[in-house]
């Protein structure tokens, strides 16, 4: 039973602000993912929850109780990092039993708890193996079991799958979520992989430069991004620059990139406002010549297996646009074909042109 609240938490290191006024509630039993570019404050947030850092300003509450001044030890959160830090001189059963020693349980009781955990991670028949004899993925599972041996219901994960092979990561992330749900854990999972977050989180929190810009379930954060940055960071988007030509009710007519057609979109900006029109590659349909609104020439096709990324250059502004189609649909289009693009008005997002400039807003620093 752990509900976590961060109340106006700020933190700086040597005068450099790292977290700025974070307000966040993570519900009991929730699987919460923190995402954001490197240096955005994800790990610092996690460490403040764990009690490894104390905030300069603000409070941390567990189950509505202020734990800001409670030591990390007493908070008792289970933690797991990118590199499994197992004791190499102990076999994996001893590793998992280690946190139980502190509890002065009878030996057969702690043995039972440990064996149960090993069963849950499918390693019961390797109980007497040493960490070095196990693969990276297995070691990471042992680290998970050990983290939970203390009986903690709060699990804090810092890039737990970051060091593993990509294919294995796909399997283990599902396992991690299933494990958390079966054991009714509250999980805070830091990752820089937004696909991972989309696939397993109940809710996602997106950090940028120490600020929590948006919190929501995957569907919400994907469909209703609050800033161009969020839209671009989660899966990516095309950007078209333009201004509002006309508006009737909440339907605006936009002139973008000086293309011939006006584009209709929802919003209630003033006529003359400079805007960014964002359309995700997966929201665009391709047509042979007629059928769409904007015309373009196919310049590249790039198969991702599950879908195909088509790059086409808009006539007029000469601007490259990305479109994602199914493999079967992509077979209808070749490089150099002239195509037209269509998109649903519900899949478009219009934002005010960023005050600090486009690059400052959306760029993910390489």
């Amino acid at each position: 039973m752990v509900k976590i609240q961060l109340v106006r938490v700020s933190k700086s290191f040597n005068g450099n602000p790292v977290l700025n006024n974070i307000r966040l509630t993570i519900e009991e039993g929730e699987y919460f993912c923190l995402v954001g570019p490197s240096g955005s404050g994800k790990t610092t947030t996690l460490k403040i929850i764990a009690g490894l850092y104390s905030p300069d300003v603000g409070r941390v509450l567990f189950d509505d109780k202020d734990v800001t001044d409670v030591s990390s030890w007493e908070r008792g959160a289970a933690m797991m990092f990118q590199n499994p830090t197992l004791f190499r001189q102990m076999n994996i059963l001893e590793n998992v039993m280690f946190p139980l020693k502190e509890k002065n349980l009878p030996k057969d009781k702690s043995l039972e708890i440990a064996m149960n955990l090993l069963k849950k991670i499918h390693l019961e028949d390797r109980a007497d193996a040493y960490p070095d004899e196990l693969s990276g993925g297995m070691q990471q599972r042992v680290a998970l079991a050990r983290a939970l041996a203390s009986g903690s219901k709060l699990l804090l994960l810092d890039e737990p799958l970051g060091a593993l092979d990509a294919r294995l990561r796909l399997e283990l992330r599902e396992e991690l979520r299933r494990f958390a749900k079966e054991n009714m854990l509250t999980v805070v999972h830091v990752t820089q992989d937004q696909d991972e977050a989309m696939a397993i989180a109940d809710r996602i929190g997106l950090l940028k430069e120490g600020r929590l810009i948006q919190v929501g379930c995957p569907y919400d954060i994907y469909q209703n991004p609050e800033t161009p940055f969020v839209m671009n960071f989660i899966e990516g988007t095309n950007f078209l620059e333009g201004y509002v030509e006309d508006r009737k009710g909440d339907v605006m007519e936009l002139m973008v990139e000086n293309v011939y057609h006006r584009i209709k979109a929802y919003g209630n900006f003033k006529v003359g406002n400079r805007v960014l029109l964002c359309i995700r590659p997966s929201s665009i349909r391709l047509h042979k010549r007629k059928g769409g609104l904007l015309f373009a020439r196919v310049t590249k096709k790039n198969s991702m297996g599950s879908y195909v990324v088509v790059e086409a250059t808009l006539f007029g502004p000469n601007k490259p646009i990305l479109i994602e189609t199914s493999y079967k649909d992509s077979l209808n289009y070749k490089v150099n074909d002239i195509v037209s693009l269509s998109f649903d008005i519900n899949d478009m997002k219009v934002f005010h042109y960023p005050l600090l400039g486009f690059t400052k807003e959306v760029e993910v620093v390489i």
């Binding site: 990276g136 990509a166 294919r167 294995l168 349909r285 198969s303 599950s306 879908y307 390489i366």
Partner: protein
């Protein structure tokens, strides 16, 4: 430059790291070698580089020249590694200029080459910085790539070059690397554990497992028409259903999996134990008169660009994936009809030791 690897094996005592590898890379091709940890992909790259010596009998040819016994410096290759290995006491410019100077290239040609590379890589703003003054590892790695290209070598070897970078950065940088390599008409061999990275940049993918090459082909071929069941599993999500061949006429077969019957093509004998495989994208929500099924939606997941459905028929659970704009409007609890095209179904021999061991990643 082209490359040929012939009968290359490498053993360490009893451990077999590479087993009879044969591989040809054409001029200008971008080849990605991919496989799980410990499959031998890095060892193979190091044998090509010349820093690991292959066992007796194996040979490496670069542009038809036998380089099997040449030291790395005489093989005329460019390298980029997972860890950025720039000379720390040299600026970005000096790092990139290092090889042309050592090779004693004529000064005019040299400065033109270097300027071109700065332009290509868009790393000009960092020209006079030392590696430690460049905070971004992505930029550091790009400078390392430029330095490798400055050797003038037309064969570039990349060993997990993007592995230590953020996922977002990785996605944009991998496209950039491919673009640069293609513009300069370089042959590249890129090793990675990331099947998605492989799919997105490769002209040709080489799948390795346990020291051997499992399969070679284009990304589409290997994703939709793999010849090996491990390839099918490794490159992405798939539906794998064990069954038995119950009918066969020429190449047309019917496979019975519990209550379900799949019609497709194969050459397995009547009664063979097989596995039916198709991608989640191959499930179509309509009826066609054969290979039609009816099931219940038991799970739905929003993945962003795609919607994933879990559909239960008896004991079997199928995964379907469709792009959001193509996806049917279904919810958990709904009954659904679907079809899988016979050309989208592949039939594999049931692996000895079972599916689980055939799919072993660790």
């Amino acid at each position: 430059m082209k490359l040929k690897v012939e009968n290359v094996s490498k053993t360490y005592g009893k451990v077999i790291a590479l087993k009879d590898i044969n591989l040809e890379v054409k001029e200008g091709e971008y080849v990605v070698i991919v496989g799980p940890s410990g499959c031998g992909k890095s060892t193979l790259l190091k044998v090509i580089m010349g820093i690991i010596k292959q066992d007796e009998g194996g040979r490496i040819f670069i542009d038809d020249k036998d380089v099997s016994h040449l030291p790395p410096e005489d093989r005329d290759l460019g390298f980029v590694f997972q860890n950025v290995l720039l000379f720390p006491h040299m600026t970005a410019f000096e790092n990139i200029a290092y090889s042309p100077i050592v090779k004693d290239l004529n000064p005019q040609l040299r400065s033109r080459l270097i300027e071109e590379l700065f332009l290509f890589g868009k790393v000009d703003p960092w020209r006079n910085r030392y590696p430690e003054q460049i905070s971004s590892r992505g930029i550091q790695q790009k400078i390392a790539l430029m330095r490798a290209l400055a050797t003038g070598s037309k064969l570039l070897l990349l060993d997990e070059p993007l592995c230590s970078l953020d996922s977002r950065v990785r996605i944009s940088l991998r496209q950039e690397v491919k673009k640069i390599v293609k513009q300069l008409q370089i042959t590249a061999i890129h090793v990675t554990h990331d099947q998605e990275e492989a799919m997105s940049v490769a002209d040709k993918i080489v799948i390795m497992q346990k020291g051997s090459i499992v399969e070679i082909g284009s990304p589409e071929e290997l994703y939709y028409r793999p010849k090996n069941i491990f390839t099918a599993y490794f490159l992405g999500k798939g539906n794998f259903v064990p069954g038995k061949v119950v009918r066969r006429k020429y190449k047309e077969s019917a496979v019975k999996c519990g209550e379900l019957v799949f019609e497709s093509y194969s050459r397995f004998e009547l009664g063979s134990d097989v596995v039916v495989f198709f991608r989640p994208e191959s499930i179509i929500f309509e009826k066609k008169g054969y290979n039609d099924f009816t099931g219940e939606v038991i799970g739905k997941r929003f993945l962003g660009r795609q919607i994933e459905l879990l559909i239960k028929l008896g004991e079997t659970i199928f995964t379907s994936r469709a792009l959001r704009i193509d996806a049917p409007n279904l919810d958990v609890g709904d009954t659904v009809d679907f079809h899988v095209g016979e050309e989208d179904i592949l039939i594999f021999k049931f692996p000895e030791g079972g599916l689980e061991s055939a799919f072993k990643l660790e």
